[in-house]
Amino acid sequence: MRSGRLRDGLVLAALALYALPFFWQALTSVRPDAELLPLSHLLPSRLTAVHYEVVLRQSLMPRALLNSLGIALSSTLLAVALGALAGYALARLPVPGRGMILLGMIAATAFPQIATVSPLYLLMRALGLRDTWLALILANASFALPLVIWLLAGFIREIPRALEEAASVDGAGRLASLRFVVLPLVAPGMASAALLAFLFSWNEFLFAYSFTATEASRTVPVALALFPGVFEVPWGDIAAASLLASLPPILIVVAFQRYLVRGLLAGALRE
Protein backbone atom coordinates (compact mmCIF):
# COMPACT_ATOMS: atom_id res chain seq x y z
CA MET A 1 0.00 0.00 0.00
CA ARG A 2 2.79 2.39 1.00
CA SER A 3 4.74 1.57 -2.16
CA GLY A 4 1.56 2.21 -4.17
CA ARG A 5 1.31 5.72 -2.76
CA LEU A 6 4.96 6.36 -3.45
CA ARG A 7 4.53 5.16 -7.01
CA ASP A 8 1.47 7.39 -7.50
CA GLY A 9 3.49 10.32 -6.16
CA LEU A 10 6.37 9.61 -8.53
CA VAL A 11 4.05 9.47 -11.55
CA LEU A 12 2.51 12.80 -10.54
CA ALA A 13 5.98 14.31 -10.09
CA ALA A 14 7.02 13.03 -13.52
CA LEU A 15 3.91 14.57 -15.09
CA ALA A 16 4.54 17.87 -13.29
CA LEU A 17 8.07 17.77 -14.74
CA TYR A 18 6.55 17.16 -18.17
CA ALA A 19 4.47 20.32 -17.73
CA LEU A 20 7.61 22.23 -16.71
CA PRO A 21 7.72 24.43 -19.86
CA PHE A 22 4.38 25.85 -18.78
CA PHE A 23 5.42 26.38 -15.14
CA TRP A 24 8.63 28.00 -16.34
CA GLN A 25 6.57 30.44 -18.40
CA ALA A 26 4.46 31.14 -15.29
CA LEU A 27 7.62 31.86 -13.30
CA THR A 28 8.95 34.09 -16.09
CA SER A 29 5.74 36.10 -15.97
CA VAL A 30 6.49 37.16 -12.36
CA ARG A 31 10.28 37.49 -12.67
CA PRO A 32 11.72 41.04 -12.63
CA ASP A 33 13.06 42.25 -15.98
CA ALA A 34 16.60 42.66 -14.64
CA GLU A 35 16.80 38.90 -13.88
CA LEU A 36 15.55 37.69 -17.26
CA LEU A 37 18.57 38.20 -19.49
CA PRO A 38 21.01 36.64 -18.95
CA LEU A 39 19.51 33.96 -16.76
CA SER A 40 21.85 33.53 -13.79
CA HIS A 41 19.67 31.92 -11.10
CA LEU A 42 16.80 29.48 -11.46
CA LEU A 43 14.63 31.23 -8.89
CA PRO A 44 14.04 34.98 -8.99
CA SER A 45 15.10 37.05 -5.96
CA ARG A 46 11.62 38.57 -5.76
CA LEU A 47 8.28 38.31 -7.55
CA THR A 48 6.70 41.13 -9.53
CA ALA A 49 3.29 41.82 -11.05
CA VAL A 50 4.66 44.46 -13.38
CA HIS A 51 4.40 42.29 -16.52
CA TYR A 52 0.71 41.68 -15.89
CA GLU A 53 0.19 45.40 -15.32
CA VAL A 54 1.85 46.21 -18.63
CA VAL A 55 -0.16 43.58 -20.49
CA LEU A 56 -3.48 44.57 -18.95
CA ARG A 57 -2.99 48.35 -19.06
CA GLN A 58 -0.80 49.11 -22.06
CA SER A 59 -1.18 46.29 -24.57
CA LEU A 60 -3.94 45.21 -26.92
CA MET A 61 -4.32 41.98 -24.96
CA PRO A 62 -7.49 42.93 -23.02
CA ARG A 63 -9.25 43.73 -26.28
CA ALA A 64 -7.92 40.50 -27.83
CA LEU A 65 -9.18 38.51 -24.84
CA LEU A 66 -12.63 40.04 -25.31
CA ASN A 67 -12.56 39.29 -29.06
CA SER A 68 -11.44 35.70 -28.49
CA LEU A 69 -14.04 35.07 -25.82
CA GLY A 70 -16.87 36.51 -27.91
CA ILE A 71 -15.81 34.72 -31.08
CA ALA A 72 -15.19 31.39 -29.35
CA LEU A 73 -18.49 31.45 -27.43
CA SER A 74 -20.50 32.48 -30.51
CA SER A 75 -18.93 29.93 -32.83
CA THR A 76 -19.36 27.20 -30.21
CA LEU A 77 -23.02 28.08 -29.76
CA LEU A 78 -23.57 28.09 -33.51
CA ALA A 79 -21.76 24.80 -34.08
CA VAL A 80 -23.53 23.00 -31.23
CA ALA A 81 -26.98 24.33 -32.17
CA LEU A 82 -26.66 23.34 -35.83
CA GLY A 83 -24.82 20.17 -34.86
CA ALA A 84 -27.55 19.01 -32.47
CA LEU A 85 -30.28 19.40 -35.12
CA ALA A 86 -28.20 17.69 -37.79
CA GLY A 87 -26.99 15.01 -35.39
CA TYR A 88 -30.57 14.17 -34.42
CA ALA A 89 -31.61 13.92 -38.07
CA LEU A 90 -28.68 11.60 -38.86
CA ALA A 91 -29.21 9.46 -35.78
CA ARG A 92 -32.97 9.07 -35.85
CA LEU A 93 -34.63 10.11 -39.08
CA PRO A 94 -34.74 8.33 -42.45
CA VAL A 95 -32.49 10.76 -44.32
CA PRO A 96 -31.54 9.45 -47.78
CA GLY A 97 -27.77 9.23 -48.27
CA ARG A 98 -27.19 9.15 -44.52
CA GLY A 99 -24.07 6.98 -44.81
CA MET A 100 -22.55 9.25 -47.42
CA ILE A 101 -23.22 12.34 -45.31
CA LEU A 102 -21.56 10.78 -42.26
CA LEU A 103 -18.57 9.71 -44.34
CA GLY A 104 -18.36 13.25 -45.70
CA MET A 105 -18.34 14.58 -42.13
CA ILE A 106 -15.32 12.43 -41.23
CA ALA A 107 -13.52 13.49 -44.40
CA ALA A 108 -14.29 17.14 -43.60
CA THR A 109 -12.69 16.85 -40.13
CA ALA A 110 -9.43 16.12 -41.94
CA PHE A 111 -9.50 19.16 -44.27
CA PRO A 112 -6.32 21.21 -43.83
CA GLN A 113 -6.99 24.87 -43.08
CA ILE A 114 -4.12 25.94 -45.32
CA ALA A 115 -6.06 24.62 -48.34
CA THR A 116 -9.30 26.46 -47.59
CA VAL A 117 -7.80 29.68 -46.23
CA SER A 118 -7.28 31.37 -49.61
CA PRO A 119 -10.82 30.85 -50.98
CA LEU A 120 -12.27 31.74 -47.56
CA TYR A 121 -10.21 34.91 -47.51
CA LEU A 122 -11.53 35.91 -50.95
CA LEU A 123 -15.06 35.02 -49.84
CA MET A 124 -14.85 37.08 -46.64
CA ARG A 125 -13.44 40.00 -48.59
CA ALA A 126 -16.24 39.78 -51.15
CA LEU A 127 -18.83 39.71 -48.36
CA GLY A 128 -17.20 42.70 -46.66
CA LEU A 129 -16.51 40.61 -43.56
CA ARG A 130 -12.74 41.12 -43.33
CA ASP A 131 -11.63 42.13 -39.85
CA THR A 132 -15.00 41.34 -38.25
CA TRP A 133 -16.05 38.92 -35.52
CA LEU A 134 -18.59 37.40 -37.88
CA ALA A 135 -15.93 36.16 -40.32
CA LEU A 136 -14.17 34.17 -37.60
CA ILE A 137 -17.39 33.01 -35.96
CA LEU A 138 -18.60 31.55 -39.25
CA ALA A 139 -15.21 30.11 -40.27
CA ASN A 140 -14.52 28.54 -36.87
CA ALA A 141 -18.06 27.17 -36.51
CA SER A 142 -17.95 25.55 -39.93
CA PHE A 143 -14.52 24.10 -39.20
CA ALA A 144 -15.69 22.56 -35.92
CA LEU A 145 -19.11 21.50 -37.22
CA PRO A 146 -18.22 18.13 -38.83
CA LEU A 147 -16.73 16.84 -35.56
CA VAL A 148 -19.65 18.23 -33.53
CA ILE A 149 -22.21 16.57 -35.83
CA TRP A 150 -20.32 13.30 -35.74
CA LEU A 151 -20.09 13.32 -31.92
CA LEU A 152 -23.70 14.31 -31.35
CA ALA A 153 -25.10 11.80 -33.88
CA GLY A 154 -23.17 9.13 -31.98
CA PHE A 155 -24.31 10.26 -28.54
CA ILE A 156 -27.96 10.52 -29.66
CA ARG A 157 -27.80 7.02 -31.11
CA GLU A 158 -26.84 5.75 -27.64
CA ILE A 159 -30.15 6.98 -26.17
CA PRO A 160 -32.66 4.10 -26.06
CA ARG A 161 -35.33 4.58 -28.71
CA ALA A 162 -37.94 3.29 -26.23
CA LEU A 163 -37.67 6.54 -24.25
CA GLU A 164 -38.58 8.55 -27.31
CA GLU A 165 -41.34 6.18 -28.34
CA ALA A 166 -42.88 6.46 -24.89
CA ALA A 167 -42.97 10.21 -25.39
CA SER A 168 -44.64 10.02 -28.78
CA VAL A 169 -47.30 7.73 -27.36
CA ASP A 170 -48.08 10.64 -25.09
CA GLY A 171 -48.81 12.62 -28.20
CA ALA A 172 -45.57 14.53 -28.26
CA GLY A 173 -44.39 15.18 -31.80
CA ARG A 174 -40.90 14.61 -33.13
CA LEU A 175 -39.74 18.12 -32.33
CA ALA A 176 -41.22 18.00 -28.85
CA SER A 177 -39.50 14.71 -28.17
CA LEU A 178 -36.23 16.20 -29.46
CA ARG A 179 -36.71 19.16 -27.14
CA PHE A 180 -37.97 17.39 -24.01
CA VAL A 181 -36.52 13.87 -24.23
CA VAL A 182 -33.42 13.78 -26.42
CA LEU A 183 -31.73 17.10 -25.68
CA PRO A 184 -31.79 16.76 -21.87
CA LEU A 185 -30.40 13.23 -22.15
CA VAL A 186 -27.67 14.23 -24.57
CA ALA A 187 -26.65 17.31 -22.54
CA PRO A 188 -23.38 15.76 -21.31
CA GLY A 189 -22.51 14.87 -24.90
CA MET A 190 -23.31 18.42 -25.97
CA ALA A 191 -20.95 19.65 -23.25
CA SER A 192 -18.18 17.45 -24.66
CA ALA A 193 -18.75 18.70 -28.20
CA ALA A 194 -18.99 22.31 -27.00
CA LEU A 195 -15.68 22.09 -25.10
CA LEU A 196 -13.87 20.79 -28.19
CA ALA A 197 -15.44 23.45 -30.40
CA PHE A 198 -14.55 26.16 -27.87
CA LEU A 199 -10.93 25.00 -27.55
CA PHE A 200 -10.58 24.87 -31.32
CA SER A 201 -11.84 28.42 -31.71
CA TRP A 202 -9.85 29.78 -28.75
CA ASN A 203 -6.61 28.26 -30.07
CA GLU A 204 -7.23 28.88 -33.78
CA PHE A 205 -4.50 30.92 -35.45
CA LEU A 206 -4.40 30.67 -39.26
CA PHE A 207 -7.88 32.00 -40.04
CA ALA A 208 -7.57 34.70 -37.38
CA TYR A 209 -4.14 35.76 -38.62
CA SER A 210 -5.37 35.96 -42.22
CA PHE A 211 -8.81 37.54 -41.79
CA THR A 212 -8.07 40.14 -39.09
CA ALA A 213 -6.30 43.44 -39.58
CA THR A 214 -6.85 45.55 -36.47
CA GLU A 215 -7.77 45.26 -32.83
CA ALA A 216 -11.43 45.19 -33.88
CA SER A 217 -11.25 41.45 -34.37
CA ARG A 218 -7.70 40.33 -33.52
CA THR A 219 -7.83 37.26 -31.31
CA VAL A 220 -5.47 36.25 -28.49
CA PRO A 221 -3.16 33.94 -30.51
CA VAL A 222 -2.72 36.66 -33.16
CA ALA A 223 -2.08 39.36 -30.56
CA LEU A 224 0.46 37.07 -28.89
CA ALA A 225 2.21 36.22 -32.16
CA LEU A 226 2.44 39.93 -33.02
CA PHE A 227 3.31 41.05 -29.47
CA PRO A 228 5.24 44.28 -29.96
CA GLY A 229 8.65 45.06 -28.57
CA VAL A 230 10.14 48.51 -28.89
CA PHE A 231 13.89 47.90 -28.62
CA GLU A 232 14.04 44.36 -27.36
CA VAL A 233 11.68 41.42 -27.01
CA PRO A 234 9.66 41.87 -23.77
CA TRP A 235 9.91 38.26 -22.59
CA GLY A 236 8.27 38.92 -19.22
CA ASP A 237 5.29 40.63 -20.83
CA ILE A 238 4.98 37.84 -23.41
CA ALA A 239 5.01 35.28 -20.59
CA ALA A 240 2.26 37.18 -18.75
CA ALA A 241 0.20 37.40 -21.96
CA SER A 242 0.74 33.65 -22.55
CA LEU A 243 -0.56 32.90 -19.09
CA LEU A 244 -3.71 34.94 -19.71
CA ALA A 245 -4.18 33.15 -23.05
CA SER A 246 -3.89 29.81 -21.24
CA LEU A 247 -6.57 30.44 -18.63
CA PRO A 248 -9.60 28.99 -20.50
CA PRO A 249 -7.73 25.81 -21.58
CA ILE A 250 -6.53 25.34 -17.98
CA LEU A 251 -10.05 25.78 -16.67
CA ILE A 252 -11.26 23.17 -19.15
CA VAL A 253 -8.66 20.48 -18.33
CA VAL A 254 -9.13 21.02 -14.59
CA ALA A 255 -12.85 21.66 -14.13
CA PHE A 256 -14.44 19.98 -17.17
CA GLN A 257 -11.94 17.17 -17.61
CA ARG A 258 -14.52 14.36 -17.70
CA TYR A 259 -16.45 15.90 -20.60
CA LEU A 260 -13.29 16.81 -22.46
CA VAL A 261 -11.87 13.29 -22.20
CA ARG A 262 -15.14 11.73 -23.29
CA GLY A 263 -15.34 13.99 -26.34
CA LEU A 264 -11.71 13.40 -27.24
CA LEU A 265 -12.02 9.63 -27.06
CA ALA A 266 -15.31 9.49 -28.95
CA GLY A 267 -13.94 11.87 -31.56
CA ALA A 268 -10.70 9.98 -32.12
CA LEU A 269 -12.10 6.47 -32.06
CA ARG A 270 -15.14 7.36 -34.15
CA GLU A 271 -17.27 4.93 -32.21
Binding site: V11, F22, S118, A225, W235, I252, L269
Partner: protein, 285 residues
Protein backbone atom coordinates in the same frame (compact mmCIF):
# COMPACT_ATOMS: atom_id res chain seq x y z
CA UNK B 1 -44.73 16.58 -41.82
CA UNK B 2 -43.06 13.30 -42.73
CA UNK B 3 -39.97 12.17 -40.85
CA UNK B 4 -38.04 12.31 -44.08
CA UNK B 5 -38.86 15.92 -44.73
CA UNK B 6 -38.18 16.83 -41.10
CA UNK B 7 -34.79 15.14 -41.41
CA UNK B 8 -33.81 17.34 -44.33
CA UNK B 9 -35.15 20.40 -42.56
CA UNK B 10 -33.00 19.72 -39.48
CA UNK B 11 -29.94 19.01 -41.61
CA UNK B 12 -30.37 22.04 -43.85
CA UNK B 13 -28.75 24.75 -41.68
CA UNK B 14 -25.65 22.64 -40.97
CA UNK B 15 -25.30 21.58 -44.59
CA UNK B 16 -25.74 25.18 -45.76
CA UNK B 17 -22.93 26.40 -43.48
CA UNK B 18 -20.65 23.50 -44.44
CA UNK B 19 -21.51 23.87 -48.11
CA UNK B 20 -20.67 27.56 -48.12
CA UNK B 21 -17.62 27.63 -45.88
CA UNK B 22 -16.03 24.19 -46.20
CA UNK B 23 -17.04 22.37 -49.37
CA UNK B 24 -17.22 25.37 -51.67
CA UNK B 25 -13.74 26.60 -50.59
CA UNK B 26 -12.36 23.06 -50.92
CA UNK B 27 -13.50 22.97 -54.56
CA UNK B 28 -12.67 26.60 -55.24
CA UNK B 29 -9.06 26.18 -54.11
CA UNK B 30 -8.54 23.64 -56.90
CA UNK B 31 -9.96 26.13 -59.40
CA UNK B 32 -7.71 28.88 -57.98
CA UNK B 33 -4.66 26.63 -58.29
CA UNK B 34 -5.24 26.53 -62.06
CA UNK B 35 -4.93 30.29 -62.45
CA UNK B 36 -2.44 33.10 -62.30
CA UNK B 37 -3.88 35.35 -59.63
CA UNK B 38 -1.85 38.23 -58.29
CA UNK B 39 -4.44 40.71 -56.99
CA UNK B 40 -2.02 43.61 -56.39
CA UNK B 41 -1.17 43.70 -60.10
CA UNK B 42 -4.76 42.86 -61.10
CA UNK B 43 -3.48 39.71 -62.77
CA UNK B 44 -6.09 37.02 -63.21
CA UNK B 45 -5.84 34.53 -66.04
CA UNK B 46 -5.90 30.83 -66.76
CA UNK B 47 -2.72 28.91 -65.95
CA UNK B 48 -3.79 25.32 -66.40
CA UNK B 49 -1.32 22.99 -64.73
CA UNK B 50 1.54 25.50 -64.96
CA UNK B 51 1.83 25.90 -61.17
CA UNK B 52 2.03 22.17 -60.66
CA UNK B 53 4.59 21.84 -63.46
CA UNK B 54 6.64 24.54 -61.73
CA UNK B 55 6.33 22.80 -58.35
CA UNK B 56 7.75 19.62 -59.89
CA UNK B 57 11.06 21.42 -60.51
CA UNK B 58 10.90 23.95 -57.65
CA UNK B 59 13.77 23.23 -55.24
CA UNK B 60 12.09 25.27 -52.51
CA UNK B 61 8.98 23.08 -52.85
CA UNK B 62 11.00 19.86 -52.60
CA UNK B 63 12.88 21.23 -49.62
CA UNK B 64 9.54 22.02 -47.94
CA UNK B 65 8.26 18.55 -48.81
CA UNK B 66 11.38 16.99 -47.25
CA UNK B 67 11.06 19.16 -44.12
CA UNK B 68 7.39 18.16 -43.83
CA UNK B 69 8.28 14.49 -44.24
CA UNK B 70 11.05 14.59 -41.61
CA UNK B 71 8.90 16.62 -39.23
CA UNK B 72 5.95 14.24 -39.62
CA UNK B 73 7.84 10.95 -39.39
CA UNK B 74 10.08 12.02 -36.50
CA UNK B 75 7.41 13.64 -34.37
CA UNK B 76 4.84 10.89 -34.91
CA UNK B 77 7.38 8.15 -34.09
CA UNK B 78 8.50 9.93 -30.91
CA UNK B 79 4.90 10.61 -29.87
CA UNK B 80 4.04 6.93 -30.29
CA UNK B 81 6.86 5.68 -28.08
CA UNK B 82 6.60 8.38 -25.45
CA UNK B 83 2.78 8.32 -25.44
CA UNK B 84 2.66 4.57 -24.85
CA UNK B 85 5.25 4.84 -22.06
CA UNK B 86 3.24 7.59 -20.36
CA UNK B 87 0.05 5.54 -20.62
CA UNK B 88 1.78 2.53 -19.03
CA UNK B 89 3.04 4.77 -16.21
CA UNK B 90 -0.40 6.22 -15.66
CA UNK B 91 -2.21 2.88 -15.69
CA UNK B 92 -1.49 1.90 -12.11
CA UNK B 93 -2.44 5.31 -10.73
CA UNK B 94 -4.83 4.96 -7.78
CA UNK B 95 -4.67 8.39 -6.17
CA UNK B 96 -4.64 11.73 -7.90
CA UNK B 97 -5.87 10.49 -11.27
CA UNK B 98 -7.65 13.73 -12.03
CA UNK B 99 -4.56 15.76 -11.24
CA UNK B 100 -2.47 13.40 -13.37
CA UNK B 101 -4.78 13.71 -16.39
CA UNK B 102 -4.97 17.50 -15.93
CA UNK B 103 -1.15 17.76 -15.96
CA UNK B 104 -1.05 15.45 -18.97
CA UNK B 105 -3.66 17.30 -21.02
CA UNK B 106 -2.38 20.79 -20.18
CA UNK B 107 0.27 20.68 -22.91
CA UNK B 108 -2.30 19.49 -25.45
CA UNK B 109 -4.96 22.07 -24.57
CA UNK B 110 -2.79 25.20 -24.75
CA UNK B 111 -2.96 27.32 -27.92
CA UNK B 112 -0.06 26.33 -30.18
CA UNK B 113 0.97 29.99 -30.38
CA UNK B 114 1.46 29.92 -26.60
CA UNK B 115 3.54 26.75 -26.98
CA UNK B 116 5.62 28.43 -29.67
CA UNK B 117 6.29 31.47 -27.44
CA UNK B 118 7.11 29.21 -24.47
CA UNK B 119 9.67 27.21 -26.43
CA UNK B 120 11.14 30.29 -28.07
CA UNK B 121 11.95 31.51 -24.56
CA UNK B 122 13.16 28.09 -23.34
CA UNK B 123 15.55 27.95 -26.33
CA UNK B 124 16.78 31.54 -25.94
CA UNK B 125 20.62 31.55 -26.19
CA UNK B 126 21.19 33.74 -23.11
CA UNK B 127 17.92 33.69 -21.16
CA UNK B 128 16.64 30.19 -21.91
CA UNK B 129 16.28 27.41 -19.38
CA UNK B 130 17.67 24.80 -21.80
CA UNK B 131 21.10 26.40 -22.09
CA UNK B 132 21.14 27.20 -18.37
CA UNK B 133 20.59 23.51 -17.55
CA UNK B 134 23.29 22.55 -20.04
CA UNK B 135 25.78 24.59 -18.05
CA UNK B 136 25.48 27.96 -19.73
CA UNK B 137 26.68 27.09 -23.22
CA UNK B 138 25.29 29.71 -25.62
CA UNK B 139 23.74 27.29 -28.12
CA UNK B 140 21.50 29.08 -30.63
CA UNK B 141 18.90 26.34 -30.96
CA UNK B 142 16.53 28.13 -33.31
CA UNK B 143 19.22 29.99 -35.26
CA UNK B 144 21.42 27.02 -36.17
CA UNK B 145 20.30 25.29 -39.39
CA UNK B 146 21.33 21.91 -37.96
CA UNK B 147 19.40 22.34 -34.69
CA UNK B 148 16.25 24.26 -35.59
CA UNK B 149 14.24 21.34 -37.00
CA UNK B 150 15.03 18.99 -34.08
CA UNK B 151 14.16 21.83 -31.68
CA UNK B 152 10.86 22.34 -33.49
CA UNK B 153 10.11 18.60 -33.39
CA UNK B 154 10.71 18.53 -29.62
CA UNK B 155 8.19 21.34 -29.14
CA UNK B 156 5.62 19.51 -31.28
CA UNK B 157 6.21 16.21 -29.48
CA UNK B 158 5.70 17.97 -26.14
CA UNK B 159 2.43 19.46 -27.33
CA UNK B 160 0.85 16.39 -28.89
CA UNK B 161 2.16 13.32 -27.02
CA UNK B 162 -0.58 13.73 -24.37
CA UNK B 163 -3.19 12.98 -27.03
CA UNK B 164 -1.54 9.66 -27.90
CA UNK B 165 -1.01 8.89 -24.19
CA UNK B 166 -4.67 9.56 -23.39
CA UNK B 167 -5.96 7.20 -26.09
CA UNK B 168 -3.57 4.42 -25.03
CA UNK B 169 -4.36 5.00 -21.36
CA UNK B 170 -8.11 4.72 -22.00
CA UNK B 171 -7.51 1.42 -23.81
CA UNK B 172 -5.26 0.05 -21.05
CA UNK B 173 -7.95 0.71 -18.45
CA UNK B 174 -10.33 -1.63 -20.29
CA UNK B 175 -7.96 -4.63 -20.13
CA UNK B 176 -9.25 -6.87 -17.32
CA UNK B 177 -6.75 -7.59 -14.54
CA UNK B 178 -7.62 -11.30 -14.67
CA UNK B 179 -5.75 -11.59 -17.97
CA UNK B 180 -2.52 -10.63 -16.23
CA UNK B 181 -3.24 -12.89 -13.24
CA UNK B 182 -3.78 -15.82 -15.59
CA UNK B 183 -0.56 -14.98 -17.43
CA UNK B 184 1.32 -14.87 -14.15
CA UNK B 185 0.09 -18.34 -13.31
CA UNK B 186 1.56 -19.41 -16.65
CA UNK B 187 4.83 -17.83 -15.63
CA UNK B 188 4.52 -14.75 -17.87
CA UNK B 189 5.18 -11.46 -16.13
CA UNK B 190 6.83 -8.15 -16.93
CA UNK B 191 8.08 -7.96 -20.50
CA UNK B 192 6.42 -11.24 -21.46
CA UNK B 193 3.04 -10.15 -20.17
CA UNK B 194 3.45 -6.90 -22.08
CA UNK B 195 4.30 -8.75 -25.30
CA UNK B 196 1.49 -11.28 -24.94
CA UNK B 197 -1.36 -9.24 -23.51
CA UNK B 198 -0.80 -5.49 -23.48
CA UNK B 199 0.79 -4.97 -26.87
CA UNK B 200 -1.74 -6.90 -29.01
CA UNK B 201 -4.62 -5.10 -27.28
CA UNK B 202 -3.17 -1.60 -27.32
CA UNK B 203 -1.63 -1.75 -30.79
CA UNK B 204 -4.79 -1.03 -32.82
CA UNK B 205 -5.55 2.08 -30.74
CA UNK B 206 -1.95 3.23 -30.95
CA UNK B 207 -2.11 2.90 -34.75
CA UNK B 208 -5.32 4.92 -34.89
CA UNK B 209 -3.77 7.61 -32.68
CA UNK B 210 -0.64 7.74 -34.84
CA UNK B 211 -2.57 7.98 -38.10
CA UNK B 212 -4.54 10.81 -36.54
CA UNK B 213 -1.32 12.50 -35.52
CA UNK B 214 0.16 12.01 -39.01
CA UNK B 215 -2.82 13.85 -40.41
CA UNK B 216 -2.29 16.71 -37.96
CA UNK B 217 1.47 16.84 -38.48
CA UNK B 218 1.04 17.15 -42.26
CA UNK B 219 -1.26 20.14 -41.86
CA UNK B 220 0.56 21.72 -38.87
CA UNK B 221 1.24 25.41 -39.33
CA UNK B 222 0.99 27.57 -36.20
CA UNK B 223 3.92 26.13 -34.27
CA UNK B 224 6.60 26.47 -36.96
CA UNK B 225 5.21 29.71 -38.30
CA UNK B 226 5.49 31.40 -34.90
CA UNK B 227 8.52 29.55 -33.47
CA UNK B 228 10.92 29.67 -36.41
CA UNK B 229 8.98 31.26 -39.27
CA UNK B 230 10.41 28.54 -41.52
CA UNK B 231 13.98 29.60 -40.86
CA UNK B 232 16.91 29.50 -40.52
CA UNK B 233 17.66 29.16 -44.23
CA UNK B 234 14.41 27.31 -44.89
CA UNK B 235 15.37 24.37 -42.66
CA UNK B 236 11.98 24.40 -40.92
CA UNK B 237 9.86 25.61 -43.83
CA UNK B 238 7.08 23.04 -44.21
CA UNK B 239 4.64 22.91 -47.14
CA UNK B 240 2.05 24.80 -45.07
CA UNK B 241 4.47 27.64 -44.27
CA UNK B 242 5.54 27.83 -47.94
CA UNK B 243 1.88 27.93 -48.99
CA UNK B 244 1.14 30.69 -46.49
CA UNK B 245 4.08 32.80 -47.66
CA UNK B 246 3.05 32.44 -51.29
CA UNK B 247 -0.57 33.31 -50.48
CA UNK B 248 -0.22 36.19 -48.09
CA UNK B 249 3.33 37.52 -48.35
CA UNK B 250 4.21 37.34 -52.03
CA UNK B 251 0.46 37.43 -52.80
CA UNK B 252 0.53 34.72 -55.47
CA UNK B 253 -2.96 33.41 -54.80
CA UNK B 254 -2.94 30.84 -57.61
CA UNK B 255 0.51 29.45 -56.85
CA UNK B 256 -0.07 29.35 -53.09
CA UNK B 257 -3.37 27.57 -53.65
CA UNK B 258 -1.54 24.92 -55.68
CA UNK B 259 0.71 24.17 -52.68
CA UNK B 260 -2.42 24.09 -50.50
CA UNK B 261 -3.95 21.53 -52.86
CA UNK B 262 -0.83 19.35 -52.54
CA UNK B 263 -1.18 19.41 -48.73
CA UNK B 264 -4.87 18.66 -49.16
CA UNK B 265 -4.12 15.62 -51.32
CA UNK B 266 -1.50 14.29 -48.89
CA UNK B 267 -3.87 14.65 -45.94
CA UNK B 268 -6.70 12.93 -47.80
CA UNK B 269 -4.48 9.93 -48.62
CA UNK B 270 -3.77 9.52 -44.89
CA UNK B 271 -7.45 10.08 -44.06
CA UNK B 272 -8.48 7.25 -46.39
CA UNK B 273 -5.93 4.94 -44.75
CA UNK B 274 -7.36 5.96 -41.41
CA UNK B 275 -10.96 5.25 -42.44
CA UNK B 276 -9.96 1.86 -43.80
CA UNK B 277 -8.27 0.99 -40.53
CA UNK B 278 -11.33 1.98 -38.49
CA UNK B 279 -13.50 -0.01 -40.86
CA UNK B 280 -11.31 -3.10 -40.53
CA UNK B 281 -11.34 -2.80 -36.75
CA UNK B 282 -15.10 -2.58 -36.69
CA UNK B 283 -15.28 -5.62 -38.94
CA UNK B 284 -12.98 -7.59 -36.68
CA UNK B 285 -14.81 -6.78 -33.44
Amino acid sequence: MTDRRLGWLLLAPALALLGGLTIYPAVWVIWLSLQYRIPVFSISRWAGLAHYAFLAVDTRFWNAAAVTAVFTVASVALEGGLGLAMALGLRGQRHGRRAAVALLLLAWALPSVVTAKMFEWLYHPAGGLVNFLLGGRPVNWLGDPALALPALIVADVWRTTPFVALLCYARLLTIPGELYEAAEVDGAAGVQAFARITWPLVRPILLVALLFRTLDALRAFDLMFVLTGGGPAGTTETLTVYAYRALFQTLQVGFGSAIGVVVFALVMVVAVAYLRMIHRQEASV
